[in-house]
Symmetry: C2
Subunit: 332 residues, 2 copies
């Protein structure tokens, strides 16, 4: 029996799975961030090797090839360096690098056509056609887009608080949460040169942070109840994510629809709002009822699916079911 190694390399954690051609997951390992853009090449390769060794269980198990799902696979990564290192270590003769977006899609389905929408720190949608990325929307980063994702949400939260403090915006329960998080005392009576003291402190503390760190304020928008300002931010996030997914939907691709990333998978309010906004378009694409999204929490199942598919192994419902069930057992 030929075996395979599949790796899902993320920005904050990396997952590897050792599996058979039948889809039986034999070993599983997890490690730190495996993205060379955020971790550097050496840091990334260390994470990949650590997760791989854990998945192989130190048994010296051999495998045919390694399939690596990774962000920015479309960009100019030094993929040959990954290949060289794996080959030098005698771990594999072949390293296949795939988009993390495709790995996320195949974590929810074994079919070769459909859609993925991911909203974590960033936001991106893809249409998959014949097992390839046919169209991608957004995923353009915090300065250009990623509308409705973590940075965007956190940024809207702190902007709403800054506006509430000087009266440009409506009062919001977010103010108390943000000021408490930053150890700022709200004393509305105190103004220095016309400016509210808490706002002056907010300015100082926010500009001490790296911009991308604003995503830490994103969860607050879901933590407050009956707050019109927070509700409006969530509505606008759903609008943006619906536009992103809507941009890749076409009538003759009926689905399935895979959702990933904490904004869509935690709570479910945003996911429901996005599908509601696209009911017509999704119904038209499917030719029947709107699609219900499959939620995925990472891309490791998809990396395993890709490991088999790219090596000519057919992945049907039975194989897909075997991958998800045997992997779930290993992860328990």
């Amino acid at each position: 029996m030929i075996n395979y190694l599949a790796i899902d390399a993320g920005g904050t954690s990396t997952r590897a799975v050792f599996l058979s051609a039948r889809g039986e997951c034999l070993g599983y390992g997890i490690s730190g961030g495996g993205n060379p853009v955020s971790r550097g090449f050496e840091g990334a390769i260390d994470s990949l090797l650590e997760a791989s060794e854990k998945a192989l269980g130190g048994t010296g198990n051999r495998f045919h090839s390694v399939t690596l799902g990774m962000a920015g696979a479309s960009l100019e990564l030094p993929t040959h360096l990954f290949q060289q290192r794996f080959i030098t270590l005698g771990l594999a003769h072949e390293v296949l690098i795939e988009s993390d977006l495709l790995a996320a899609f195949y974590s929810g389905t074994y079919q070769d056509n459909g859609y993925a929408l991911i909203a974590g720190t960033g936001a991106v949608a893809a249409r998959v056609t014949e097992s390839r990325l046919a169209a991608v929307a957004d995923g353009t980063g915090w300065l250009l887009g990623d509308d409705g994702a973590g940075f965007w949400l956190g940024s809207q939260v702190v902007r709403a608080v800054a506006a509430a403090l000087d009266g440009r915006g409506a009062p919001t329960a977010l103010t108390e949460l943000v000021l408490a998080e930053l150890d700022i005392t709200l004393d509305p009576g105190v103004r220095t040169q016309g400016r509210v003291g808490a706002q002056q402190q907010l300015i100082v503390k926010i500009y001490e942070m790296r911009p991308i760190e604003l995503s830490r304020f994103a969860p607050m928008v879901f933590a407050v109840r009956d707050d019109a300002v927070a509700a409006d931010i969530i509505e606008r996030a759903a609008d943006a994510l619906a536009r992103t997914l809507g941009a890749v939907i076409e009538a003759d691709t009926p689905g399935p629809l895979v959702f990933g990333g904490s904004v869509l998978t935690k709570g479910g309010a945003v996911a429901a709002a996005v599908t509601a906004r696209l009911a017509d378009k999704l119904g038209a694409a499917a030719g029947s009822e709107p699609l219900a999204p499959v939620l995925v929490h990472d891309g490791v199942v998809g990396a395993a699916v890709l490991a088999l598919k790219r090596n000519g192994v057919e992945v049907d419902a039975a194989v897909f079911g075997r991958i998800t069930e045997s992997l779930a057992a290993l992860r328990d």
Copy 2:
């Protein structure tokens, strides 16, 4: 006759005027950026001294005190260092530091109560009461606010273009302008891993820039004609600036209203849209017709007005007229 030196220290240029207690401007000088936050203390002091020496005309003219209008006067600037340097050089016995916001206000009026709205790279509004900043709104910087100002506009422009390129947003004439500015060729047929080639190039070029440099794309929103996307950005800028000014308006302060910064003073469409949105509130504050804003291009007149007022010289319509007319003659 006692004379005064007044300086308007901006981020990109510094203006100094040497004037008499009657408001006659006797000398004028201009130099580079005089803001210690952006230029560093030594760079800023060099600009202040260069503009001052030009204004004094190398005649060894003596003056009672120097009044310095400067951004962030409310923050913890090393103002004693400015004072020390001026005093060491024998230029003045006293250095008064005032907010650039107050200098902008007094560039449009000699009255001690009213409003200023400035929208250049940043956006900020103030209510002036008895010659002091009584309330300030926004001016919170590009990450927290400055809604409707240069960075905000430029950011909206590039986000609209990124969205137009992958179909999330409507097509816009801004695309051609932005891509031409960045030397990117639009070839809608080419996709790599699902992503439009021009968008991939846009991502690479935008993230090579410092975020604040996005303000260079702001003027494009006024350069296109009959473009719904650009018109929507302008409308939202006017909404934001109206909220900022509206936050400092109160019923018993009737005006005047001073507008500054290129977003409000160039073209005039945004200024008109802001006053239209606040017609009721401004009418209520004035108790009659909505206020017509006075447009100012920098803060040097206001620095001169402050130099006199802070030294106990009454500035009435005649003195104010003398300052503006004699300064205009020097600047020609």
